[in-house]
Subunit: 436 residues, 2 copies
Amino acid sequence: MTYKELSKDYLENYGLSIGDTIKVHKEDISYTGILLDRPEDADDGYLVIKLSSGYNIGVAIDNTTAELIEKGDKPKIGYDEEEIPTDPSKQNISIVSTGGTVSSVIDYRTGAVHPKFTASDLVKANPELLDYANYNVKALYNILSENMKPEYWVKAAEEIASDISEGADGVVIAHGTDTMHYTAAALSFMLKTPVPIIITGAQRSSDRPSSDANINLIDSVIAAKSDIAEVCVCMHGSLNDEYTYLHRGTKVRKMHTSRRDTFRSINAQPIAKIQNKKINVNPEYNYVKRGENELEVNTAIEEKVGFIKSFPGISEEFIEYHIDKGYKGIVIEGTGLGHVPDNLIESFKRAADEKIPVVMTSQCLYGRVNMNVYSTGREIIDAGVISGMDMTPETAYVKLCWALGQSDDYDEVKEIMQNNIAGEFSQKSSIKDFLN
Amino acid sequence: MTYKELSKDYLENYGLSIGDTIKVHKEDISYTGILLDRPEDADDGYLVIKLSSGYNIGVAIDNTTAELIEKGDKPKIGYDEEEIPTDPSKQNISIVSTGGTVSSVIDYRTGAVHPKFTASDLVKANPELLDYANYNVKALYNILSENMKPEYWVKAAEEIASDISEGADGVVIAHGTDTMHYTAAALSFMLKTPVPIIITGAQRSSDRPSSDANINLIDSVIAAKSDIAEVCVCMHGSLNDEYTYLHRGTKVRKMHTSRRDTFRSINAQPIAKIQNKKINVNPEYNYVKRGENELEVNTAIEEKVGFIKSFPGISEEFIEYHIDKGYKGIVIEGTGLGHVPDNLIESFKRAADEKIPVVMTSQCLYGRVNMNVYSTGREIIDAGVISGMDMTPETAYVKLCWALGQSDDYDEVKEIMQNNIAGEFSQKSSIKDFLN
């Protein structure tokens, strides 16, 4: 076992082994569950217990006593990466861990959460995953998603492509939630895929009693086995563990700082709902089917792209700054139908003259950019600004990075921005697509 | 009447006068309604008709024929500003027009919308307003709201304060919707008010058949007569004309580019619902009552405030740029609970060293900033960044402009930012406050 020193002594003292059902008492509280293996690099002095709810909890052994409730089998929950059992009748799912809350543990000294688990730890901590598939697990990097950078999107896309070309029937990516939708959009543009690529995460860390990692992971594996060959986000659909939603990677956004059901399809419906381990595909959804596309990898990306929110009092100097600094493109988060104060319009003209594409989106988030309604919008169009249609500002930003990676030519980039590459534009709006 | 040349000849030809119920035929379409007076500066060749739905429509007279259905009274809908009738038994409401769609007409040559109506035109175009109150109408400026600037907030606040000190029982501000919530937040911080200050607008221009201006205006007048002495936004609550919501000025945001029910309370419930001309106040809402506050005007504001959205790949140079350029404060729209990539943290420290307050908000919009959960958040706190709590990023931006107007002292500004000045922080979160 990986428990060491204090924890190891403690477990030996009470005659407890990994896989046993144990009860730990601490003052007025007691926890009953299966003793799990600890992730490597974990701090000493803590045990991880899987509660009957499926949640894992980290317990500091300080001032606790423990008792054995029932001896358990070690093999299913304690193995090294090479030892993960395989079953030839099951599909092969690749799990790629990038860090984030889904693969985090609490630092009990500060109360803060650090990314520490690896993909292999994820399977260890969620042994029921083995009922669904065979796994090839890989820790790509281990960072909180606010530190994701475009270069990591490239690395992730290449890794996923390599897994798919080696025969993965589906890929699950464990990712922090903060920028999950940016990564989902990036992978959507970078990869044409014959199999599902499912990004998932958690709003509570995997070893917390209220972690949502367990259901999100299992439902992601179910999605990865499905016939939906798109890049999707799979996350809680409600405040409890009833169901998850599968969102198209280019149409999803984190909408709440802390709720489990924070991810929402914007200007679109979810592709599917996963409930009681069954996937129910939205019959109206026109998605790419398994095997319909050949694998195609196109990771070229331009990182020097500005992303600017418009507001009353914004100075045109900020646009000029981006042009002066050699930015290759700019996404504006305008107001309403896609407007900005008129003092910015001359700078847009300068950008167009210097062949720097400027794309307009709306900070309303919901609805469609339409610069034909008001006089300001028409002036913005005349200044060469490209409509972001009903893309989220975040998807538009990622798409412009990618489009500028595909071509140096201003007109070609404009054309790419206006083509529907990965379902990022909805063909028509539905009244159901607001605040749903 | 203000109809001229072509339109005047046309009306004389058919023997029609303002106030008459007329029918205009154009190919397969005919419109029946009351002939309204045209706003000044209107293009020649158009008639404005009030349909029985309450909507006003502009009809180009080209290729049309017309007939008189019923002679009408001119006085109620055709008067100059000084002629607006008054009734001593009614409350006195001040209507201040700033432009925007609510006071716009369509330019029939381009199809675009220009702000053209004045406050007086608003009453002319909505004669039923006279049933509710006496009006003092004033056109403050006539701009689309994307061109609002902090200096206009000041002008509006001073004008409103002057109306209140002259005895207005309530104030209604006609405003464009794009930046309505920014103005609502600004007036909330600048004015302590003994009477309601209600901001309203429209998503369809006043002379379009589907305009929502009529119900928004009338319900705003009803709100302005109520005992809710706060700055509020009154706008459609659904896709039809059933009801409007009254939102607290610091807790509201435009959430859809084109829907009429675009304005939503964020991390809060609406204060009241207005249905069938009756106001139903949310019994859980703790609002400021009429007469509770004395009028207090505090319009000092700092315009040199940055408002920066964080994203994967953002360069710390943006933060450095704002410091170098002498910005007095910066609001960050971070990810998740209030995070940014770690390359920005050193620049936050520099800002703190130079006594430039940096405020963290979340691009999730819903939920509360909490920088204590993750290691990145703790580092951001250590770099001196102030939590924006559950304020919208837009309200936090406006508040920082205002706080920096109130004091030059870094610690005082920090304290103002952490005090609840105008209901901008919710004391507790409710699960009802998500996507509602």
